[in-house]
């Protein structure tokens, strides 16, 4: 990549007000560095990934309303987590976390367990319950 080819496309980096550093060759073929404000192929990939996550959140929300899953799954999606990550945050086995997705099981959860989830999601137990 030549220095003048270092991409200067619009990207999400702008919101945090920084540009990334890239290595590129100057006119004499020598390696040097240049700042890049972003690159479209990367931005598109990132935006698609975000969109995918938003769809998952929306889907989980609908299923909570229909009584098909518990608020825990919704919050998990909201925090871009999957079952493995959530399980390691609350310190439970994955199968237990999955079981807590069942609304009937969720209703019977004791406060101690609910508190673990609430802490990870940074909300109160009441709020977690109310999401149902």
């Amino acid at each position: 990549m030549k220095k003048k080819e270092v991409p200067q496309d619009k990207s999400n980096l702008e919101s945090a007000n920084f540009r990334e550093l890239c290595y590129a060759v100057d006119e004499d073929g020598k390696y040097t560095t240049a700042n890049s404000s972003g690159w479209e192929p990367k931005t598109v990939a990132l935006n698609n990934a975000i969109e995918e996550i938003n769809e998952r959140i929306e889907d989980a929300k609908n299923r909570v309303q229909k009584g098909e899953t518990s608020p825990i799954e919704y919050c998990m999606e909201l925090h871009k987590m999957d079952v493995g990550i959530l399980a390691s945050y609350v310190g439970l086995w994955q199968w237990r976390v999955k079981r807590h997705f069942k609304p009937a099981v969720f209703k019977k959860l004791n406060n101690k367990t609910l508190q673990k989830y609430a802490d990870v999601f940074e909300i109160s137990v009441d709020k977690l319950k109310k999401l149902e």
């Binding site: 991409p7 990939a45 990934a49």
Partner: protein
Amino acid sequence: MKEETIINFTHHQAAHCENGVVSNLMKHNGFSVSEPMVFGIGSGLLFCYIPFLKVNHAPVFTYRAMPGLIFKKFAKRTGVKMKREKFSNPKDAKARLDENLKKNNPVGLQVGVYNLLYFPDEYRFHFNAHNMVVYGKQGDRYLISDPVMEEVTSLSDKELEKVRFAKGAFAPKGHMYYPVSFPEKLEFEKAIVKGIKDTCKTMLAPIPIVGVNGIHTTAGMIRKWPKKKDVKTANHYLGQVVRMQEEIGTGGGGFRYIYAAFLQESAKLLNNEKLNELSKEMTEIGDLWRDFAVEASRIYKNRSAKTDSYNKVADQLDYIADLEKVFFKKLKKAV
């Protein structure tokens, strides 16, 4: 009274976090070591498909060595002694950090990205292999030199604890590292040769998921996605290949440009003209990786699942793999 310890530390922006931390810590200790040098000597360049693991519900590919490995190899090969610590208890982790700052010793930390508040929201995923330097404390705020950022920044006590004890794959567990002793003079020549030999060995390894073979395997997987998965999933998977290639600062070449810069610098140090030629070749290969990313992004931008277009990008990857095979064989002989 406000507690204050600020170490006189110079922040240099880097393309990639781990190289940057090592390079900045070395510079702090009076050794001028560039980022590409760290990357090359530490054998950072890689291609690997990681089976059985899913991140963001998609398969995982990596273009660089495991977190911490670059520093480990770099230190071993240059004769720098370094200390690495992991903690089970956040309190101990904080105490050790404070102790080091008091001793005027800036330290490297491995952290999770999800709770790094100064990152743009869109970049905050559960990715646990980010690196930064802590170089001071003002009241309850830690002063942070994050190599991918243009400027230094800071995090509160609580915020820092959260990123140091992020959970999930590659959980950092408070991982802290810093050099403790240095040789009188850094022996670059031997270290460079070792670094290059190691990279050639891994890239040419006879294992289907690693190096050149790994690229071929990935190409094969890409060919199957439009047939086996629905449009969305196939697009999502392909996007992941590009996103992993495109960590911050790779400039599209999946770290190939940084490696080319390393070869160019080494050519001078070793007085080896062949490395200059190879650096040019690596730059061209980097350009091909860029072309691959552009072509792949066209597919997921248009949300198409035409088998043809998937085959086309897979062909590009196969071609890159063939070139890299020849390249690393030549590189092995050049040193």
